[in-house]
C-alpha cells in the first residue's frame, strides 16, 4: 500500500521534472533563436569573419573588432573563431554547405585547394578595399596565377633561433660564415663540449620553412608554377641526411625526448642551443622560458646557393565568392581594417607574423616589445634580399607534412634508409596531387 503510493509519487515527480525541464528548455531555445536571428537591425550590414588562434589572439581580435564596429556603425561583424584544427573542420563543412563567412583566413596548405573550389572572390574593383599602402609590384606579388583573389594578412620567413643565455654561459658563438656544413659541425662540437649536458638542437627535418629554403638553395622550388612537387628525391634525401648526421652524433634531442618528430617546444626549449623556426614564433615561444634571452638570424646557406633563394611566406585571407552584393562593401571595409589599422596591430602584436604593410610596421615599431623588435629586424633584413617567385602548395598536397612525418618516423626507428624514405615521400606526394 505505502509502496504503491510512493511509486505514484516518484513517477509523478519524474514527469514533473520532465515537464519543467521541457518548458525551461523551450524558453531557452527560443531565446537562443532570437539571439541567432536578431542581427538584422535596420540599416546595418552583417559580415561574418573567421580566423583561428588561442585565447590571447581571440581576445585581441575581438577587441579590435569592437573598435571597428565603433568606427563603422552600419557594419556588424560576427566573429567565428576556433583553434587551428577546429577552424579547418568548420570551414570544410561550411564550404560543402556553401555557407562560408564573408571574410576568412586561409590555412597555408589549403590556399590552392580553396582556390580550386572557387570560394575566393576577385578583389579587384571593390571600392572600400584600401590597398593604397602597397606598390603595384607588391600587389602583383600577392596574385595567384595573375588573379588578385587573396591578400596577405601577415608574413614570416624561416630563421635560426638561438638561446643567447646558453651561448654566453657556454662561451660559444655561431660560425661567422653560416653554411649548413659549418652549422652541423658547430652543433656537434657544442653538444660534445658544453658542461651542462645541453644538445645542439631539436631533431627538425619536419620544419617546412627551412626545408623549403634548403630546396630553393638547390635551385628547385618546393611547389612548381604548374602545381607539382618541385623538390627532387636527391634534395629531399640530402635534407634528411643533414639531420640524420646530427641525430646520430647525438647533437639533437631524441624523438622520444622531444615527444615526436614534431618537437615540443615546452619540452625542449631549455635543453637545446638553437632551433629552426618561423620568424614570428619567438613572440609566443620566448614566453615559455622567461629566464632566457632568445635571438634569431637568417638560416644557413650553401656557399653556392642558388640566387634569390630567400622568400617571404604570406599568410593569406580572402573574401567569399558568394558573398551577397550588399555585404561586399562592408567585407571590403573589414579587410582594409585588417590590412591598415595600427590600432588592431597594437592589439594583436606580431605573434602571427609581421604586417605586409611596411609603413604600418614602421609606425608600430616604437610600440613593439623587445622580442617583437627582433621579428621586425629579420623581416626587414629578408625584405631587402633578392627573392625569386614562390608558389603555393597545390590542391591534393594538403597532408604532405603527415606523409613526411611518417617517412621520418620510419627513418628514425631504423626501419627505412634515407634514400628510400626520400623517394617514398616524393612518390606519395606526387600520387596525391595527381588524384586530386
Amino acid at each position: 500500500m505505502s509502496k504503491s503510493t510512493l511509486q505514484d509519487v516518484s513517477r509523478r515527480n519524474f514527469l514533473t521534472y520532465a515537464g519543467v525541464g521541457a518548458i525551461t528548455v523551450g524558453a531557452f531555445a527560443l531565446a537562443g533563436c532570437s539571439i541567432g536571428g536578431g542581427s538584422g537591425g535596420t540599416g546595418t550590414t552583417t559580415v561574418r569573419f573567421a580566423w583561428w588562434g588561442g585565447a590571447d589572439r581571440q581576445k585581441a581580435y575581438l577587441a579590435g573588432l569592437d573598435s571597428f564596429g565603433q568606427q563603422n556603425e552600419n557594419i556588424t561583424v560576427e566573429p567565428e573563431f576556433g583553434d587551428y584544427n577546429a577552424f579547418q573542420e568548420r570551414m570544410t563543412t561550411q564550404m560543402a554547405a556553401r555557407d562560408v563567412p564573408e571574410v576568412f583566413w586561409i590555412p597555408s596548405p589549403a590556399v590552392l585547394t580553396y582556390r580550386d573550389a572557387s570560394i575566393y572572390r576577385d578583389l579587384e574593383g571593390i571600392e572600400t578595399l584600401d590597398l593604397s599602402a602597397f606598390s603595384a609590384a607588391e600587389i602583383d606579388s600577392f596574385r595567384l596565377d595573375g588573379v588578385l583573389d587573396t591578400l596577405p594578412k601577415s608574413m614570416f620567413s624561416p630563421v635560426l633561433r638561438y638561446n643567447s643565455t646558453f651561448m654566453e654561459e657556454d662561451g660559444v658563438t655561431l660560425p661567422e660564415d653560416l653554411t649548413w656544413e659549418a652549422l652541423s659541425e658547430f652543433l656537434i662540437d657544442y653538444t660534445k663540449d658544453n658542461a651542462n649536458g645541453r644538445k645542439g638542437t631539436t631533431y627538425g627535418p619536419y620544419h617546412d620553412m627551412p626545408f623549403e629554403s634548403f630546396v630553393r638553395q638547390h635551385g628547385e622550388d618546393l611547389w612548381t608554377k604548374d602545381g607539382k612537387l618541385g623538390a627532387s628525391v636527391d634534395t629531399v634525401a640530402e635534407w634528411i641526411d643533414w639531420w640524420e648526421t646530427l641525430r646520430k652524433a647525438g647533437a639533437t634531442t631524441t624523438v622520444s625526448e622531444q615527444d615526436g618528430i614534431e618537437a615540443s617546444w615546452s619540452l625542449t626549449g631549455n635543453k637545446v642551443l638553437a632551433t629552426f623556426a618561423n620568424s614570428n614564433h619567438i613572440v609566443d615561444e620566448a614566453l615559455a622560458f622567461p629566464d632566457y634571452t632568445f635571438d634569431q638570424r637568417d638560416i644557413p646557406a650553401f656557399a653556392d646557393a642558388a640566387a634569390g633563394y630567400h622568400f617571404v611566406y604570406y599568410s593569406r585571407f580572402a573574401m567569399y565568392a558568394r558573398a551577397e552584393d550588399d555585404r561586399v562593401d562592408a567585407a571590403g571595409e573589414l579587410m582594409s581594417f585588417n590590412l591598415n589599422s595600427l590600432e588592431l596591430l597594437k592589439l594583436v602584436g606580431l605573434s602571427a607574423g609581421a604586417p605586409p604593410n611596411t609603413s604600418l610596421l614602421d609606425e608600430y615599431e616604437p610600440e613593439a616589445t623587445e622580442v617583437e623588435k627582433k621579428v621586425i629586424a629579420i623581416t626587414r633584413e629578408i625584405a631587402a634580399t633578392e627573392r625569386r617567385d614562390r608558389f603555393e602548395a597545390p590542391a591534393g598536397s594538403g597532408n604532405w607534412r603527415t606523409m613526411f612525418v611518417r617517412e621520418l618516423e620510419a627513418v628514425t626507428l631504423g626501419d627505412r634508409s634515407v634514400s628510400d624514405a626520400a623517394s617514398n615521400f616524393v612518390d606519395a606526394v606526387t600520387a596525391e596531387i595527381e588524384t586530386a
Binding site: S2, K3, S4, L6, Q7, V9, S10, R11, N13, F14, T16, Y17, A18, G21, A22, T24, V25, F28, A29, G32, C33, I35, G36, W52, G53, G54, A55, D56, R57, Q58, K59, L62, A63, E78, P79, E80, F81, G82, D83, Y84, A86, E89, R90, T93, A96, A97, D99, W265, S266, L267, G269, N270, H281, D284, E285, L287, A288, F289, P290, S351
Partner: protein, 303 residues
Amino acid sequence: MAILDRDVQATAAAGKPLEPAPRRRRAGTGRGRRITRHAFLVLFALLMLYPLIWMIVSSFKPSNLILTQTGLFPSEVTLENYTGGWDSLGTPFTTFLINSGVVAVGSIVGNLFSCALTAYALARLNFRASKLYFGLTLLTMMLPFHVLVIPQYILFAEMGWVNTYAPLLIPKFLATDAVFIFLMVQFIRTLPRELDHAAMLDGAGPFRIFWSIILPLMQPALITTTIFTFIWTWNDYFGPLLYLTKTKLYTVPVALKSLVDSETQSGIGIMFAMSLVSLIPILLFFLFAQKYIIKGIATTGIK
C-alpha cells in the same frame, strides 16, 4: 539550475521514509575487512585520479610553468588562470556554462521522452516490423559520424537552424540516440512479462501498461540515460562547433577548445582552469543522480 534545486528538495522529501532500509545484508564480518576494502579503494582512487590532481595543481601555476615545470609542487602559485580565464573570450564563462546546461537538460528531456516510447514499443508490443525497426535502430549506431556530419549540416543549414540550438535538441526528441533505445530495450526485457499479463487481465491497454508499470520499473534505465545524456552532451564538441558559430551561443567544450592554440600551446593554463570549473556541474549532477539510482530502485518495488 533551478531545476536541480527542485529535484534535490523532492528527492529529500520522497527519500525520507525509506532511509532506514539498508539495501544489502549486513555487510562483511569484521572491521578488518572493511578497512582493507577502504584502503584498497582509496589507493585505487588516487591512482585513477592522479591525472586530475596534476591538472588541478597545474591550473594554479603561471602559464609558462605548466609544461616546463611538471612536478606536483609548484614553485609559484597564481590565480590568474581563473581570474583571467573567466572573460578571455569576450563573453563571461558563465554564459557557456548556462548554454551547456540548456543543451544538456533539453537533450535529457528529449531522450527520455522519445527513447522510452520507442523502447517500449520495440521491447513489448507485437507487430510485424519490430525486428526490422530494432535492426535499423542498431544500424544507425554503427556508421561513423564523420560521414554523416556534412549531409546533416547541409540539411540543418537549409532549414535555417545554424546558430540555434535546434540542430542539437530536436533530433533528441526524435529518438535519434539509438544507444539509449537499445539500453532501455535491454532493461525492459529484464522485467517479467507476467506484469503485463496481469495488468492486461485487469483491462489495462498498452498505454496504461507503459505508463503505470513499465515506466516506473525502468527507472534505473531512465536514470542511466539521464546521466549519460548529460555527460555526453556536456562534453559534445563537434556538433556545437559546427552549428554554433556565435560566441554568445558557445557551449563549454567549444569555448575550451578556442582557448588553446594548437600550434603554440598558449592558453593552456586558462584551459585547465576552465576545464576544472566546468567539471563541477557534472560532478554535482552525478553525485545527485546516483543518489537517485539507489532511491529509484527502492521505490520500484521490484526487490
